[in-house]
Amino acid sequence: MGKPSPTRTIARSDFKRISEQVWEIPRDFREDMRAPARLYADEALLEASLTDNSVEQLVNTATLPGIVKYAIAMPDIHQGYGFPIGGVVATKLPDGIISPGGVGYDINCGVRLLASEALAEEISPFLNDLASAIYRNCPSGVGVHGEIKLQDAELDKVLVEGARWTRERSLARKEDLEHTEEFGAMPGADPEYVSHKARERGRGQLGTLGAGNHFIEVDRVTEVYDETVAERLGLFPGQAVVQIHCGSRGFGHQVCEDYVARFQKTVRDLGIELPDRELVCAPFASEDGQQYFHAMACAANFAFANRQVLAGHIRRSFEQVLAGKVLAFDLHQVYDIAHNMAKIEEHEVGGTRMQVCVHRKGATRAFGPGSPGLPDDLRDIGQPVLIPGSMGTASYVLIGTLDSMERTFGSTCHGAGRVWSRARARKMVRGEELRQELKSRGIAVRAGSISGLAEEAPQAYKDVSRVVDVVERAGIGKKVARLEPVAVVKG
């Protein structure tokens, strides 16, 4: 095989089939690759991945210094910037790199699932009021500020304590924190490495949803695939549950911007050659690498706190609308996951246990039974994995597997994955018609931007059920329950 340039179009024939759901681009495909690149997909999703530059982006990540095993992409892969969305890269510590672009601008963008004890049909007469209350109580939109204004000392506490900070304000229950990845506080956070600009952006934005693809959704559990695990998670058919999808807001964006800009010089000084400037990185153990990790952990904690405050607002909305009308409206936390993060984990590589830095960019940690980092009450079943679908379509709750530990550094997919550009979605879908269509299906919609609604139309995404089926067949996640929306709130 020749040594194609990074700009060569990648064809299906460049893949070697490893198994039914695993496709590999060998290491010798491109001179600069340091590991093979593996894609989890069925035939149709493989074809879909070849319609944009996402596979080239996957191959680019295989060039990162210190990468172990292979660069991995999930079946919801789509074109991003630097890493593809759906990408997983692990680098060997201490010398392997950490890349801010491998985490992305929305550090610890993630999903939280809250579950009531009520049936969706019990709350359906009050659904419009509930959607309005959530929309009112959870500030949304571009650059929106919330009701909490953080002075420096208090902001520092948020950055170190994450969701735990909200306990003082009675916005978190003990079990919320236990059922949050990293127990709601990522270790290693040090506000000293966060810029003044990040602080300025963050101090007014805690407890806000933002805009873009972030949402709050009230769902109904429409199917349970694993009754035992569902029962352990407190999920049952017909139940009303709530998903929150958002991240670290302007705070996280600024942390990433600061370090991507700074690392432009770092890679030059260290002579690290990369096929894309968004992949800039620094050795994890270096001063630059450590400082980014400390700052990233602060942003991750900001996001955990943000979703926790939003959870408080949603509980308040349920109480305002449903108290005295529906008995079991209280919401318990099923779990909270991150899908944009870099973490220090121990995994087996070539028969040896080693510490690695796992970058998940649009991918979810999916630790199997017995893994460290799981709460005591879930350790024997594995980590809950929350996979939101596109607007108006199904979402899934999965559980992590032992096979994911072995094959994908304990990772699985994160969502449906886009297939249409936003421009195409706006051209093909009228936001108002979409709102009417969702309404005719009994879904209450509250959205600040109609064109934003069109950009998130279900047609713009892959079929999430197909994506989830692939990860289940591949053994890197097991289906527990399916959710379908009854109310959608967006910025």
């Binding site: 571009v142 650059g143 600024q254 550009s421 421009a423």
Partner: protein
């Protein structure tokens, strides 16, 4: 405000990408700022009642351009303002001083999280400069 002849959107599955041309680097930077505002769906007729002056640096002109555009997003976010007027006061390959003019109570319809370095190019053309940028939305 930039129009179709001043910037062109490039197909991108998840985010937004565009190319912009200017007769010189100063115009390129101003028109890139206008393109950013157009992508955010900002109104074109702001009153320009607020002004801010900024200084931005970067290790090369590409970094300088990204840092300039991200500075605009930062100021929007922190001050909740929208800008429609941009003037370059001084520019080199690694340093920019510029002023921004706009109004408070930003009316920004579409979110841009950040301007990225992905696929970033600034190319010299016979009659000026062209930049290609991808923004995270």
């Amino acid at each position: 405000m930039a129009n179709d002849s001043q910037f062109r959107e490039v197909e991108h599955t998840a985010d937004r990408a565009f190319t912009v041309r200017g007769r010189d680097l100063a115009e390129l930077f101003v028109l890139a700022a206008h393109a950013l505002c157009a992508i955010q769906g900002q109104p074109t007729d702001t009153q320009e009642t607020v002004s801010r002056e900024v200084e931005v640096s970067g290790v090369d002109r590409e970094t300088l351009l990204v840092n300039w555009l991200n500075e605009i997003l930062y100021l929007q976010d922190v001050h909740q303002e929208s800008y429609s007027g941009f003037q370059v006061i001084a520019i080199s390959e690694t340093f920019l001083r510029a002023s921004l003019h706009g109004e408070p109570n930003a009316s920004i319809r579409r979110s841009i999280k950040a301007v990225t370095f992905h696929g970033l190019k600034i190319e010299r053309l016979p009659d000026g400069w062209e930049a290609t940028l991808v923004v995270d939305v």
